[in-house]
Amino acid sequence: MKKARYLKKQKEKEFIAALGAKARVYAPCLEDEAVLFKPAEPDSTICLSRPAVSSPKSVIYPQSETLFSFRFKKDAEDKRRTLVELDDTIEVPDTIIFGARPCDARGIAIIDRAFSKTDTPDPYYLARREKTTIVTLTCPEPSSGCFCTWVGCGPAETSNSDVMMTEVEDGYLMEALTEKGEALLESPILEDGTPYEAQAREAQKAAHERMVKEAGETDTTPVDPETFDSQAFWEKAAERCLGCGACTYLCPTCYCFNITDETVVDKGERIRSWDACMFHHFTLEASGHNPRAAKALRLKNRIGHKFLYYGEKYDGIIACSGCGRCIRGCPVSMEISTIASALKKNSGTVSGEQ
């Protein structure tokens, strides 16, 4: 059963506030000039007109989290002995991501697979994921650097969201795609959406066509193995890379992490935090040996993970949603799209760009 409701633009704040009564609501909020996913407060300025700087993955997969805490205790029977107590309880509130983009939703789906389709699923991620409802906005306009259709996503892609909202006359058509989504649309603030469905379909179709015009249809050409293994290709492609983590931290699909311990006096925590495969430190071993010491090797791994390795595990899926954030956020405008497209052609060119 598909449920279509209508949200009047002037009731947007009221609706978000009502959602906030039941769950934590994260929405793209304006902070100075930056659009960031933040907890929606009554005085937040919600900005749906352009994509957020960073993806909402942090809502489900925070930049740092405590895996468990430990406490050292003297053994009551043998005072010389120190015992350890572990505690891995976490708080998992109901959460709504409001105003994600289809690329954001796809990013979360990509992390979902990695963290659940394994014999050791990640309980922290999955606990939060299960309690999260994703409300996705049909992308009205492509931004600079966007290429979602090229990697098989799209501005009106619905497959990874719970509710799809599409801008129509003076408001949004809200369509439930899952049971979670249906529950969320049970609200007296919303009106019947049936009269707007045709309009929404039209808008979705137009958005898709605009994006295809910009970035092209889905390219299923496989990566050329010879180019992929060419050292010269990667050295050229990585030439200007500064080796920072902007691309990975802004990326909706990157999920590599670090685990570190922190202690204060007699207790501490084991922390999981985002890590970036573009950092020299990432693979540096205690012996001083580093299997990916050169930035060209690190770039190869990053692009390889997205366009080759991930797909080898999960049905050929590309672990990139084409959001363009890494391009827009890169201090030297590294272009994943041109590197990936050069990889697909065995054109003999080693240049990362055209």
Binding site: E33, R240, G245, L250, W274
Partner: protein, 317 residues
Amino acid sequence: MNLEKLKEIVRTVLPSVDVVVGYKKGFDALHPVPCFLTSPEEIDALVLNPACVHNLAAYLPSLKNKAAVVVKGCDSRTVVQLAQEGLIKRENVVVIGVPCQGTVSVRKVLSAINHQPVIGASFENDTLVVKTKKGETRLALHDVLSDKCLTCRYPTPVLSDHLAGEQIEPKTAGKEAYQDIRDFDARSLEERRAYWLKEFDRCIRCYACRNACPLCVCRESCIAETRDPHWMSQRATQNEKMMFHMIHAIHLAGRCTECGECERACPMGIPVAKLKKKINMEMKELFGYEPGISMDDKPPMYTFKVEEEKIEEHKIR
């Protein structure tokens, strides 16, 4: 900015060096990118306009052999500073200077066009013409220049082996380079604290600011990542972020050439250059020192005077 003259110079310099670091076209017209030329065929791809913002001197310490680098006034100070500190060998670098009237701040441009996706852009004298789907917008270059350019004292490189263009006089008459810092200093302590806590809150610890900084030299030993010694945790807290940014600024005391790359590189738009500028202002007041001006200088933190003229003993109060 004279592209034809630049190409001519690069053509003559290229045979004597391993690589020439310049600019070429990027993903949109507002984003030229650094490029590394090794053959004459690549010269025609060179770009030079006020959107060429990067400080290319940042690449010099990582280049092994002789290289030529295209530098603007501010970037030339970095070359001087790097050579002064022995981080590069002067004889290994051919400096191609470009006199510069200022570079654009992409943030200001995007703000002026209400963050519309950019289709094209061109520069006509003092005007930037930006094309979006909604049409053309003409912006006075002065209104979208990077803040550092508005008080630029060195539009012509302080050091160059070749100069692509005519000398430019600074247009800073009546402007005080550190007025913004003084204004900020005039705010209450609570306000200043709240300001930075809010700004640092959105730091994602990507270290783009650090990696874009041509004078950040700790590399793999940076306190942000190493646990030997263990100064910082990997928690995403304001504590850690504030600590990192303070140390970044302090490490640049008397060394920062104010190229502004840290701030430009920040994907979250945190005004981190302000911290370095504050310290630079103090360095100037205390020691009359400006980094990257003369090859024979010594950064003030690397030296001392037995009698310091400007440092008085503090009373406890």
